[in-house]
Symmetry: C2
Subunit: 376 residues, 2 copies
DNA sequence: TGTTTAGTAAGTAAATCTAACTAACTGAAT
DNA sequence: ATTCAGTTAGTTAGATTTACTTACTAAACA
């Protein structure tokens, strides 16, 4: 099954020789999978130029069943229907903060039902649901241990959502889910060892190691917000952007950029505009001295953070994502230069190019965790 | 086989029910393993109190074959014969630097032959050889890519050693080998996610992740000597202890401790004694102000280094090893305190208690990499 | 002597193999 | 145009492998 997913339109004979199993065995399994609807076959137009019977081209049936992917973010909850190839068929979203104190789980479940109705999907066509949550999550038991943005502590999200949706639900940390998305459909497709670093209100890291998602002993791996890139600054009372945020969070998170910018400005200027991180990046590109100083500080901390994760893990590549990363393309060469000054090994660093990477990753989470013929 | 190794003296029936395979199948396999000498059986003294036939107690035969473990260090090469339980049966060593320009590989092979002769082992009784090398090593191809301490670059150590010893040889980085040793016989026995950090002339980190040794994309994972714990200091020209050494190497390595101590001393004092790191640790414990300052700086950099690896990897525990770690027991509480000040998650930190951990780990490397019934 | 537990023997079931077949095509000689 | 050797795809049939179930014997206890 895995081979067919990754190799469209091969014949039974191809599969037999590629997987080194006999032709009859392949035929038996293929017949069974055809019966169950997981694959399709199509007679080939042409035979090989050297003659022979025309092969039947076996293909994965990406519409055998569908997946719902959910990405719970600080500002909005994104919901999508995906097919088995990871294509987003339809999307919707709802405001997070407006619903945080209003039974958010039920609101999300309702919106899922609504999205399915709108697109004329029956619940029976849905294989299951994958959810990315901005917090530390016990994946085995489906419990959100701590997600301050949505005010969840020890919430059995999996169980509650399964009760509402009547289908399998899997839950994981949002950064891990983004890493899964990059692994399935992004720059990490061909790699077994890479890191996904998301820059949003804080900083997080998803680790694909030895061909597996690594979650840590207590599901806290990749929480690099607590990393210290400047021990003298860390020993002083540094300015935590939010309570509970770590040193690196408070230096490379989006809000921390704004906060640092405001500190450099007069009171009048502070109020005159809406100071988003994105705007400060643009000002820096346009040559504004204050903005440049703030951004340079940000870049420096980010670069040393990257040096530290790379030096520990020696990944094939590092992919940057999250809201702040959208402004980062222009500054990437500067980051890479700093890193190369300190590290003898070369590591490819890029900014994510996948749209809806978290939704796709949430779908992949389901495929990965749920026991089925499609288990990856 | 794996079950028998971990469960001494169980009966065929025990094995069948524990592994959920039928009794006849267990009997067949057990007979085969007995035939081949991998296991032994012994009639039990007593039957169960509720009656029944006396069981045959099946045990792993730890002397079915033997392993040679080699640890190549900067000062000496340690060589040991191990049985399959990881017990060191006999040891020898030779001086590294004296032989570095004198065909070190051949010297080691000769010493291995000598050790075997001395203990009346035949080459046929040796399953293979595992070697830990202080440098970056391509384990797949058995090539030492870069090991400055012994002046090796792109040395096909595996192939050359196999030619000399006529048995399977496997090669890996010394820190990885130490981690394997802790995994087999040390504090990591029951854990699937832990780190082994060795403090010697530099600092290195072996990673056991998701129940597997992680070596990185280019075998450079855990080379945390390049980590930066103080970005301001790193941006200045800091004092590299040895050329090619990284920032953290130059702050927590044994020689760096000596170097920093000497800088604080007058010329007369510098020459008056042999300033080892161990001695400076002792002086600090005895209250010497200069030594205390040097050691505190060391501890601070080490603690922040630990914070950074823990925050990325969230291991079950961190084990400290290497020459410098012998002096560390007294200072461990101080390190743990610093870490807990910055990290909300708790991680167990200890100093290795296993003797010959690298030799044992080298043996485990062979068991892990070599295709045999004992493959772990 | 009946009960309990360990281990063996014989037959069964499932899965996958090999070998030989049929099916269907190409292309060159007739 | 027809024929046929060569080639590739896929199927059928029987052999092999592997581990299972059932039913047995062996050896203990009380």
């Amino acid at each position: 099954m895995h081979y067919i997913q990754n190799n469209e339109g091969h014949s039974r004979s191809d599969i037999a020789s590629a997987l080194k199993i006999s032709k009859p065995t392949v035929s038996n399994i293929v017949d069974e999978l055809l019966e169950e609807g997981w694959i399709r076959e199509k007679e080939s137009e042409k035979a090989s130029s050297s003659g022979g019977r025309k092969p039947f081209q076996i293909s994965f049936n990406e519409n055998a069943t569908y997946i719902v992917g959910i990405d719970i973010g600080g500002t909005s909850v994104e919901i999508a229907i995906l097919n088995l190839s990871g294509d987003v068929l339809s999307k919707t979203n709802l405001d997070t903060q407006a619903n945080v104190d209003n039974d958010l789980i039920k609101q999300i479940a309702d919106r899922v039902h609504h999205l399915l109705d709108e697109n004329e999907f029956e619940m029976e066509q849905i294989m299951g649901v994958g959810i990315g949550v901005p917090g530390i999550t016990d994946v085995e038991n489906g419990i959100v241990l701590d997600a301050p943005t949505v005010n969840w502590r020890d919430v059995p999200l999996q169980a509650e959502m399964e009760k509402l949706l009547h289908c399998p639900v899997y839950v994981d940390n949002d950064v891990n889910v983004a890493a899964l998305g990059e692994w399935w459909k992004g720059a990490g497709k061909t790699d077994d060892n890479f890191l996904m670093i998301t820059l949003g209100s804080g900083v997080g890291c998803g680790l694909i190691i030895n061909g597996d998602l690594y979650r840590g002993a207590t599901y806290a791996a990749g929480e690099i917000g607590y990393m210290v890139t400047d021990k003298n600054a860390a020993e002083k009372e540094y300015d935590q952007t939010f309570p509970g945020y770590g040193f690196l969070d408070s230096h490379v998170g989006g809000p921390s950029i704004t906060k640092r910018m405001l500190r450099h400005l007069g009171e009048a200027e502070q109020k005159s505009e809406d100071w988003s991180a994105e705007k400060i990046f643009e000002m820096a590109m346009d040559g504004d001295a204050t903005a440049k100083k703030v951004i340079e500080d940000f870049l420096s901390h980010l670069s040393y953070g990257l040096i530290n994760v790379i030096t520990i893990l020696n990944p094939q590549q590092v992919i940057l994502g999250g809201g702040v990363s959208r402004s980062l393309d222009h500054f990437l060469p500067h980051i890479i230069e700093t890193i190369q000054k300190h590290l003898p090994i070369h590591t490819n660093i890029s900014v994510t190019k996948v749209e809806d990477v978290s939704l796709i990753g949430a779908g992949y989470l389901l495929l990965k965790e749920h026991d089925s013929i499609l288990k990856v």
